[in-house]
């Protein structure tokens, strides 16, 4: 490509783009099947699906190095898979099996994957936001240039923990990138009923002297582009950034949400901006993939998830005695 075209150079290579498409499809399929397993009573507890928001996790985590860190809230399947978690381990966790990514102790809301520097999966709204600052603090303390990417929803903007962490992250110029995935809903409460301002870049950026950038969260390459800027800034020691990715969740808040607050029209219209379809179109336009290859990809992923489910279904339950393991590094002495 000639240098005159620099401004339209895609942020990604073809290889990476195809990998991103694969990841988005993997996440989508993983969750569609999870929904079915939930309805059949195979998955318990709370289960929050990421469908519709895949471009945010994939496009941003895609810009990280292996030694960087990722942490997120309870809507965590997407981030875990984008970070390289084996879907078998994820699916086994959903079924509460010993082979699960958290040995069956965490469940859907608490995916962890130390090998991929994926630090969970956190279910108390806002409570992991200080942890992310701590991870970034550690990176800086050790003198490295790793960064930490931290995700949360628009509802978490209203938790005090965010406020405290943001102030310190900015004050100490910690290499953390805070990502609000603004799907405009905190459970059944629309942004305009829970947030004093509609522009979250003011609440998360301006308010703390951090750069605050809004991005179309369904446009994976835009997500990647703004993330890269923030990562570069963090690695250069210039401190944290705040990114507001505007997006839409296709499903209910959790599996038990009847979504009475939405019209069918709204939901259908949102599907037109499905980030996967948008990206498939773009890649086809750009000549990076053909329709037939897309179909092959879909099939391969179907197979991969089928395999994951089979693996998970057949995996053994953890022994009940495992209850007392993994509490502390020192032997746990039950206080009974």
């Amino acid at each position: 490509m000639a240098h005159a075209e620099t401004d339209v150079t895609p942020i990604t290579t073809r290889t990476q783009a195809l990998e991103w498409l694969r990841q988005m499809l993997l996440i989508r399929r993983f969750e569609e099947r999870s929904a079915m397993l939930y309805q059949n009573g195979k998955i318990g507890g709370f289960c929050h699906l990421y469908s519709g928001q895949e471009a945010v996790a994939v496009g941003s985590i895609g810009m990280l190095r292996e030694d960087d860190y990722v942490i997120t809230a309870y809507r965590d399947h997407g981030h875990a898979l984008a970070r390289g978690m084996d879907p078998k381990a994820g699916m086994a966790e959903m079924l509460g099996k010993a082979a699960g990514c958290s040995k069956g102790k965490g469940g859907s809301m608490h995916f962890f994957d130390a090998e991929n520097n994926f630090l969970g999966g956190h279910a108390i709204v806002g409570s992991h936001i200080p942890l992310a600052a701590g991870v970034a603090f550690a990176a800086k303390y050790r003198g490295g240039d790793q960064v930490c990417l931290c995700y949360f929803g628009d509802g978490a903007m209203d938790q005090g923990a965010l406020h405290e962490a943001f102030n310190m992250a900015s004050l100490w110029k910690l290499p953390v990138i805070y990502y609000v995935e603004n799907n405009f809903m905190s459970m059944g409460t629309h942004l305009h009923r829970h947030s004093c301002l509609m522009d979250l870049t003011i609440r998360g950026g301006t308010a703390y002297g951090m750069p605050g950038t809004a991005v179309d969260g369904n446009d994976i390459e835009e997500v990647a582009r703004v993330t890269k800027e923030a990562i570069d800034r963090a690695r250069a020691g210039e401190g944290p950034s705040f990114i507001e990715a505007r997006t839409y969740r296709f499903r209910g808040h959790s599996m038990s949400d009847p979504m009475k607050y939405r019209t069918r029209e709204e939901a259908e219209k949102a599907r037109e901006r499905d980030p996967i379809i948008l990206f498939e179109s773009l890649l086809k336009e750009r000549g990076w993939i053909e329709e037939s290859a897309i179909e092959e990809l879909h099939d391969a992923i179907k197979q991969q998830i089928d395999d994951a489910i089979e693996f998970a279904a057949e995996a053994p339950e953890p022994p009940v005695e495992d209850l007392y393991n993994d509490i502390t590094v020192a032997p746990h002495i039950p206080q009974e």
Partner: protein, 327 residues
């Protein structure tokens, strides 16, 4: 008497008190337009409007504090925690501002507030979402801790709590919300705070329990009666603080043996607190140590079987009763 679900009984209690007293309002996450995350406030927005049924952001410390402030100047807020596990981000507000305000102000500002919501191990919710905070709140003088086990108690106790002039920590159980029972529709049906209830009379041993464990204990008592001919008295504490120790003493003076059944962790929990007080009050009446059935001392796992293994069960209650009776 009408048969209502536990959640409907709670709804009725709030609705009746709101009809009666304009100072009462309900505030919390998803209580209004969503009709309650657990449908406890179903229909209340339609009935009372957004002035009195107030949806909040996810800001527990903030809206707990708003409730306390409003109570200081004369309103009577009901603050719903979607679950009590989320009250931990509002902990300071509850144990300092609600619990101490009247004292620190030398009696000038009381805090007539009800914090309510469910707690307990509802099934595969994991360690952060399965807390049972009753012992922690009961530790603090200044707080009153109420935990109903049946629809009728839910109604009568919640009404008394709303009418109380003091801060009440009212803890429901997620797994009881769908339970049905007869509930008086008398708008003056009140159950006094601080009174335990003998849910089953018996002569051989006293089972002391509360919340969901009442149900498990009653079943175990029936089975013990049928299979072993053991006649247990089952006492539902209903209020954790202040403890109705008189009712317990009366029962143990008759049975001379007791087992405490709770969903709480064992160490520094409610069971320990109650046992300690009983030993100091009626040591000589006891023919055996007070038996204990509790949730095992571990964080709550996602895996269903593992979680189930922690909980008091019919089998573990029967086992403990037999062992305290030396059978």
């Amino acid at each position: 008497m009408p048969v209502l679900q536990y959640r409907e009984a709670l709804n009725l209690a709030m609705s009746e008190e709101m009809e009666r007293d304009d100072r009462v309002f309900l505030m919390g996450e998803e209580v209004a337009e969503y009709n309650g995350a657990y449908k406890v406030s179903q229909g209340m927005l339609d009935r009372f409007g957004p002035r009195r049924i107030v949806d909040t952001p996810i800001s527990e410390a903030g809206f707990a504090g708003i409730g306390i402030g409003a109570a200081m100047v004369g309103l009577r807020p009901i603050i719903e925690f979607m679950t009590y596990s989320f009250s931990f981000v509002a902990f300071d507000q509850i144990v300092n501002n609600a619990a101490n305000m009247r004292y620190m102000s030398g009696g000038q500002f009381s805090v007539p507030i009800v914090f309510r919501g469910n707690a307990g191990m509802a099934g595969s919710l994991g360690a952060t979402h399965s807390h049972r905070p009753e012992a922690i709140y009961a530790h603090f003088p200044g707080l009153t801790v109420v935990m109903p086990a049946t629809p009728a108690d839910a109604k009568g106790l919640l009404k008394s709590s709303i009418r109380s002039d003091d801060p009440i920590v009212f803890i429901e159980h997620e797994n009881l919300l769908g339970d049905k029972g007869e509930v008086s529709d008398d708008p003056e049906f009140l159950i006094p705070i601080g009174k335990a209830d003998v849910k089953r009379e018996g002569s051989d041993l006293t089972i002391i329990t509360y919340s969901r464990s009442v149900i498990t204990s009653l079943k175990a008592a029936e089975q013990l009666a049928e299979e072993d001919g053991i006649d247990c008295e089952v006492i539902d504490l209903r209020t954790i603080r202040p403890l109705d120790i008189e009712t317990l003493i009366a029962s143990i003076t008759k049975t001379h043996r007791a087992v405490i059944v709770e969903e709480n962790w064992p160490y520094c929990g409610v069971g320990a607190g109650v046992a300690d007080r009983l030993y100091r009050t009626i040591f000589d009446e006891l023919d055996a140590p007070i038996g204990r059935v509790f949730t095992k001392d571990a964080p709550v796992p996602y895996n269903k079987a593992m979680e189930q293994s922690m909980l008091p069960s019919g089998a573990s209650i029967r086992h403990e009763v037999r062992s305290i009776l030396g059978i």
